[in-house]
């Protein structure tokens, strides 16, 4: 599904990604771990099409289509969803209005009519129940004054609404309390199918106990320095990253 080959990306001539190779197939869950500043969020943003980052070398494709030429919204229309590490506030725009616009814009891109209001309502009801979100919450301005955990839960609510082919969750677990983590992880798991894939960026093994990955990759200084099975996450939890950094230097 997603194929990344020797990807180099920089911002203002600062090299951040330095040769990433990654293949994600339908039905798979990949976890990406790695120290602060190693380039995890950058990788997510580059896949989503953030234009500040310049691709210097290599390629990214989704279902065989080169993504480089596609605008971020076109990538979204093709089924890429990113849950932001730091979701932005849009004052005066309610969660409902925002998600309605997002869904209808994606439908429009596919030549479909706006989703009928009652259908939208049903979907909202279903997904907010899945993520145990109070309906009152949905009338609030997007992310404005939301607690850290509320922001993350809202990201996953949007994901649930949009049913993406490829979801990239950037530190969705940070800021969530224990119960919220379970609810959100449970929500994510419900969305798993043989046709879609998830990339989970996290610092903590705990999330991976809920969303069990097929592969774990360690990103260090813009490169994947180690890949393995879910046990790798446990090992990292125990030993930290230093031993890998050593290995990378060697």
């Amino acid at each position: 599904m997603l194929e990344i080959k020797d990807l180099h990306a920089s911002i203002e001539d600062k090299k951040i990604l330095k040769g990433i190779n990654l293949e994600v197939n339908p039905g798979e869950v990949h976890a990406i771990m790695g120290p602060n500043g190693s380039g995890k969020s950058t990788l997510a943003s580059v896949i989503a099409g953030k234009e500040e980052f310049e691709i210097k070398k290599g390629s990214i494709s989704l279902d065989g289509e080169d993504l480089e030429e596609l605008a971020p919204e076109e990538r979204a229309h093709n089924g890429i969803f990113m849950s932001f590490q730091y979701p932005v506030e849009i004052p005066g725009v309610s969660v409902t209005n925002f998600i309605k616009t997002a869904i209808n814009e994606s439908r429009k891109a596919r030549g479909l009519e706006d989703m009928p209001a009652n259908e939208m309502l049903k979907l909202i009801r279903e997904k907010s129940e899945l993520l145990e979100i109070d309906r009152k919450f949905l009338s609030r301005s997007l992310n404005e004054g939301f607690s850290g955990g509320e922001k993350k839960r809202n990201e996953i609510f949007q994901m649930a609404m949009m049913e993406p082919k490829l979801a990239i969750l950037d530190e969705t677990d940070s800021g969530l309390d224990i119960d919220a983590l379970r609810i959100v992880a449970n929500g994510v798991n419900k969305l798993r199918s043989k046709d879609n894939a998830i990339i989970v960026i996290t610092h903590y093994q705990r999330l991976l106990e809920y969303i069990v990955p097929d592969y774990v990759h360690v990103l260090h200084d813009g490169k994947i320095v180690k890949s393995g099975s879910k046990e790798l996450a446990l090992e990292l939890e125990e030993k930290g990253y230093d031993w890998l950094k050593q290995e990378a230097v060697l």
Partner: protein, 481 residues
């Protein structure tokens, strides 16, 4: 590359005026220039009683002695008042009973504006009195209104049919000598709307007027007079669009609102006059005097969405004369390219326990300048007066400007006045977030702007709010292709 501010600006600047056309309707136009003869001529043309002619002449004599004001934060080439024709009326004197009788070309114009009478008639609950080229050409729903004793007609008709009301109230809120443009308007006003709601009557529908300017070189001098008698209520909508033109078009309207004891007037405006092209050429000069007078326990709310004009100079105001009266001002002003807007309000607290609220949202793009100028004045006898003002500015790009000039004058220590101001920019992060959810940049900007303006949009009547949102989108959208 990133969607930089540079590109954002470019995109915003590529918007062409949507209603850039004008129709060719034969009209009866006065020669250019202004003197007593012209003033008398206008009055004659409209078959006005002598007192009205005299009133106009008084205004003209005052105007001659006045200087054009300089103090607003706007710069423009002053209109040459002798180079303007002061009267223009569609030739076929319109007194239509049905649409079939209306000039087909005029109907075509309405269609282009998306306000065909057909549609308007169907829009339940909205009576439309369309002022085009200074003469009212259509009035609907008149009968329903008449049953309640409500008078809603052109001001010319009111001068003929209800002279006692006009004579009693015209110029009582905005006197002839109030300011340069008001004096000019008083001398030469061509037409406008008149509305009277009798005691204790709640007007059952939104009263709506669409204003248009349609003759090259004819200034527009509308005069509106709304009187809400004791304990009555009315919601009045004013909206307009204008065809594009090379020459600057002067518009100097006067709106007077009178809310007697316990009455309430809601006055909403959506204004979309030709703002000038990308170089800043052409466009309407909009110098408007709008003022409302509140008697005891009365309430006046001004809500406006301003997206048009090359130069806008406008301060809807409330004189809170009666005890416990309330004044409100909700405004969205959008400027793009070279537009200049200097708008705001004046809240004059005279009575005890008077309250005013000001919410102003300014959105600037391109090289435009957007100024808020507000005066809150508390008179010595106004015990316990309260005001809350909030002015928010949203900037797009680095070449535009937002300015806030709050003036506060209190002569009573018990006054409570609060003022809040914020300035923000549309961030690339916000746009990327929207993009990531499948919303393209143009739509994202519209969404963010609508969110920013929401508190004011919410004050508009439903059907107007939809139109206003569309207007906001049009004025800020980069035209695709």
């Amino acid at each position: 590359m990133a969607y930089t501010e540079e590109e954002l600006k470019k995109e915003l600047e590529t918007k062409e005026y949507e209603y850039g056309f004008y129709t060719d309707i034969e009209s009866d136009t006065f020669p250019k220039g202004l003197n007593e003869e012209i003033v008398v001529g206008i009055s004659k043309k409209k078959e006005e009683p002598e007192w009205m002619t005299e009133w106009r002449l008084e205004a003209f004599r005052v105007w001659k002695e006045m200087e054009e004001p300089e103090w607003a934060n706007v710069h423009y080439e002053k209109p040459n008042f002798q180079d303007i024709s002061y009267y223009s009326a569609p030739n076929k004197k319109p007194k239509y009973n049905s649409l079939d009788e209306v000039d087909p070309e005029l109907l075509e114009t309405f269609k282009k504006l998306g306000i065909s009478l057909d549609e308007q008639k169907k829009l339940a609950g909205v009576a439309v009195d369309i002022v085009m080229d200074s003469v009212s050409v259509a009035t609907t729903f008149k009968k329903t209104l008449a049953e309640k004793g409500i008078i809603f007609c052109s001001i010319s008709e009111a001068i003929q049919e209800h002279p006692e009301l006009v004579k009693k109230y015209i110029g009582t809120v905005v006197p002839q000598k109030d300011n340069f443009y008001a004096a000019l308007n008083s001398a030469v006003f061509s037409d406008g709307s008149f509305c009277y709601i009798p005691k204790g009557v709640r007007c059952p529908m939104e009263l709506s007027t669409y204003f248009r300017i349609n003759q090259a070189g004819t200034g527009q001098f509308e005069r509106t007079l709304v009187i809400a008698d004791e304990g009555s209520y009315v919601s009045y909508l004013e909206g307009c669009t204008a065809p594009s033109r090379d020459e600057n078009q002067l518009h100097a309207a006067v709106v007077e609102l009178i809310a007697l004891d316990d009455a309430e007037i809601k006055y909403s405006t959506v204004q979309n006059w030709f703002p000038g092209d990308k170089e800043g050429k052409g466009g309407v000069f909009n110098f408007v005097t709008k003022r409302g007078l509140c008697e005891k326990n009365a309430k006046i709310s001004w809500t406006q969405v301003e997206t048009g004009s090359a130069v806008t100079w406008k301060y809807p105001s409330c004189v809170l004369k009666g005890d416990n009266s309330i004044g409100e001002f909700y405004s969205i002003a959008v400027t793009n390219n070279f537009q200049q807007a200097d708008t705001g309000t004046k809240m004059i607290h005279l009575g005890k326990n008077t309250k005013s609220t000001i919410i102003s949202k300014g959105i600037s793009a391109g090289q435009s300048q957007n100024s808020y100028r507000g005066l809150v004045q508390v008179n010595s006898r106004a015990e316990n007066a309260r005001n809350f003002s909030q002015c928010d500015s949203l900037l797009m790009g680095n070449r535009c400007g937002a300015h806030t000039f709050p003036y506060i004058e209190t002569k009573n220590k018990s006054a409570q006045i609060e003022h809040e101001a914020t300035t923000s920019k549309i961030g690339e992060d916000q746009i990327f977030y929207c993009n990531q959810r499948g919303i393209d940049t143009e739509k994202a900007i519209a969404l963010i702007v609508n969110g920013f303006s929401k508190e004011v949009l919410n004050k508009l009547p439903m059907e107007f709010a939809v139109e206003a949102q569309k207007l906001l989108e049009i004025s800020l959208e980069g035209s695709v292709g």
